[in-house]
């Protein structure tokens, strides 16, 4: 009886807490498109309009011969060129090579996650490895490309190596920073509820690192793309970077911009994937 009373009390007390629910808009629901109302689409619409306007001005500048087709290109030239390299299979061949390099180097760099966790966890390991990590992080690692070519040759392996080096240390540093910034009160709470050191690591520290790991991966994607392009620019016989270089050397500016566009699309795409991943895995951030 006493319990029932307290229960009904508890339920009545939940009423004021419902203020946290998002405002319900059944009466005057705005029009929606793909789950977003028109207001929320506005930034996207303006963004697209901006691209169209700038692209149009660019095109106009080209048509009016304000820019020189010898050194620059414009949309009506490089967009058809893009379709041409898709048709001839050149783009697919380049992407196969560059994609493999990117994937190989990036996947290997994921080894930075366990290493970063270990460094964050064991201070001795941090002391031992910190000098190397500091150097590798500060050094413009692309300086190593000539050496990597000597070691691994002109093929895919040297590119995977430079991508790995560029991405790996970024991942290590972000992950280790995540371990160290774990909220001490969460660790204390887990300890208070009887958590062992291992449980604290797996159930508190690792989950709290997730946003840091994803932030590291996002930076790593950027660095890996730099690795792909630099590696191929400097020493290769195939891939997007190679095509960019040869296009520039042959003054095939339309081809250059077509390849650049592909690169930009991929860079933006990977960034988007990681943003979505972050929202999924760490919705409590921001």
């Amino acid at each position: 009886m006493a319990n029932q009373q307290t229960d009904s009390l508890a339920e009545s007390r939940t009423t004021p807490t419902t203020i946290n629910k998002p405002p319900i808009t059944t009466s005057s629901r705005p029009k929606t498109f793909l789950g977003r109302n028109l207001q929320e689409w506005l930034p996207t619409i303006v963004g697209i309009a901006s691209i169209l306007v700038v692209g149009g001005l660019w095109e106009l500048a080209g048509q009016l011969k304000i820019i020189d087709s010898f050194v620059l290109s414009w949309p009506s030239k490089f967009i058809p060129e893009l379709f041409r390299i898709i048709e001839t299979g050149q783009l697919a061949a380049d992407l196969a090579v560059s994609g493999l390099e990117f994937l190989g180097g990036f996947v290997l760099s994921l080894l930075g996650i366990p290493l970063g966790l270990a460094i964050g966890k064991w201070r001795v390991l941090e002391w031992i490895l910190d000098p190397y990590i500091a150097v590798m992080n500060a050094l413009p690692l692309v300086a190593l490309v000539p050496l990597l070519v000597v070691i691994f040759g002109l093929g895919i392996a040297s590119k995977i190596a430079i991508i790995f080096l560029l991405a790996f240390f970024t991942v290590v540093i972000s992950t280790a920073a995540g371990v160290k910034t774990t909220d001490p009160s969460l660790i204390k709470a887990a300890r208070s509820f009887g958590g062992t050191e291992l449980q604290i690591f797996t159930k508190v520290i690792i989950p709290s690192c997730v946003p840091f790991i994803i932030a590291g991966l996002r930076l790593a994607v950027g660095k890996a793309l730099i690795g792909v392009v630099i590696g191929e620019l400097l020493a290769s016989t195939q891939g997007i970077g190679y095509s960019l270089r040869s296009a520039a050397e042959l003054f095939r500016t339309a081809n250059f911009f077509a390849n650049l566009l592909v690169l930009a699309v991929f860079a933006v795409f990977f960034n988007w994937v990681l943003t979505v991943l972050e929202k999924r895995l760490a919705p409590w951030k921001d």
Binding site: T17, K188, A190
Partner: protein, 262 residues
């Protein structure tokens, strides 16, 4: 009645970053009895939170003995649970999973699922089981933290300024609810607060702590009936208790103020 918490001559000395030795707590002794609601008030920095961590077993005293249920405390144990001031909820866990933290860490999630549902209902978070802490208000987060502590079925609830981060109106509601929960469950509650009003309003007994190094300088039995209605709050006796606590605490607060000012 046998006390279920005994602090015997506790001293705690800690080392600061610059190597200075600081006495946090000196010669502190107290007996707390089963089912009691005991508040600890004192000036800021007097070691109130340290006291909670000592009883919980998160900290070890430099000397002295802490005995809970006739056993010497060597570390945290399920017979005690802490409600932290900053809630300390795992942001990646929803309310239900946060509440089940204790059982999960002991590998007993399944047998506590119903208990978790009960405590979630008891603290008024029914229908919020799947919400994440970032989707909750301060008051609701603290309810979740209380539910987490209760789900672990402790005998003793250690509360470290639990309502300090909750807004003033929510605080009053939470105070009433905590009394209700305490009366319904019969737990022993050790309640840290810096609010004299809160201490007098909630407790059977108020312990007054000195400025650092912390020790108990006085204790006051609050002989007011529960539930403590507005009438009780407006009574002469309630007013006298508050005045008494403040008179005794004033000099200690001034000590802290003077050291901070200098």
């Amino acid at each position: 009645m046998e006390p279920n918490i005994q602090l015997k001559d506790i001293n705690l000395v800690y080392k600061t970053r610059n190597g200075e030795m600081v006495d946090a707590i000196t010669n502190l002794s107290v007996d707390i009895f089963p089912g009691e609601f005991v508040s600890v008030v004192g000036p800021s920095g007097c070691g109130k939170s340290t006291l909670i961590q000592l009883i919980d077993g998160l900290l070890k005293p430099t000397s002295g003995e802490i005995i809970v249920n006739k056993k010497r405390v060597t570390g945290p144990s399920p017979d005690r649970a802490v409600v932290f001031q900053d809630f300390a909820l795992m942001p990646w866990r929803d309310v239900n999973k946060n509440v089940l933290l204790g059982p999960e860490l002991r590998g007993k999630t399944n047998s506590f699922k119903e208990k978790a549902m009960d405590t979630i209902r008891m603290v008024g978070l029914k229908n919020f089981e799947r919400k994440y802490p970032y989707q909750l208000s301060g008051g609701m987060k603290q309810r979740a933290a209380i539910a987490r502590a209760l789900t672990n079925e402790p005998e003793i609830l250690l509360m470290d300024e639990p309502f300090a981060a909750v807004d003033a109106q929510m605080r009053e509601i939470m105070q009433e609810e905590l009394i209700r929960i305490w009366q319904a469950t019969g737990k022993t509650v050790v309640f840290i607060t810096h609010s004299i009003d809160e201490a007098v309003y909630m407790s059977n007994r108020v312990l007054l702590m000195s400025a650092r190094p912390g020790r108990f300088i006085d204790e006051l039995k609050i002989e007011l009936p529960y539930p403590r209605t507005l009438e009780v709050k407006n009574s002469q006796l309630y007013f006298e208790y508050r005045t008494h606590v403040w008179e005794h605490l004033k000099t200690e607060v001034h000590k802290v103020y003077d050291t901070q000012a200098s």
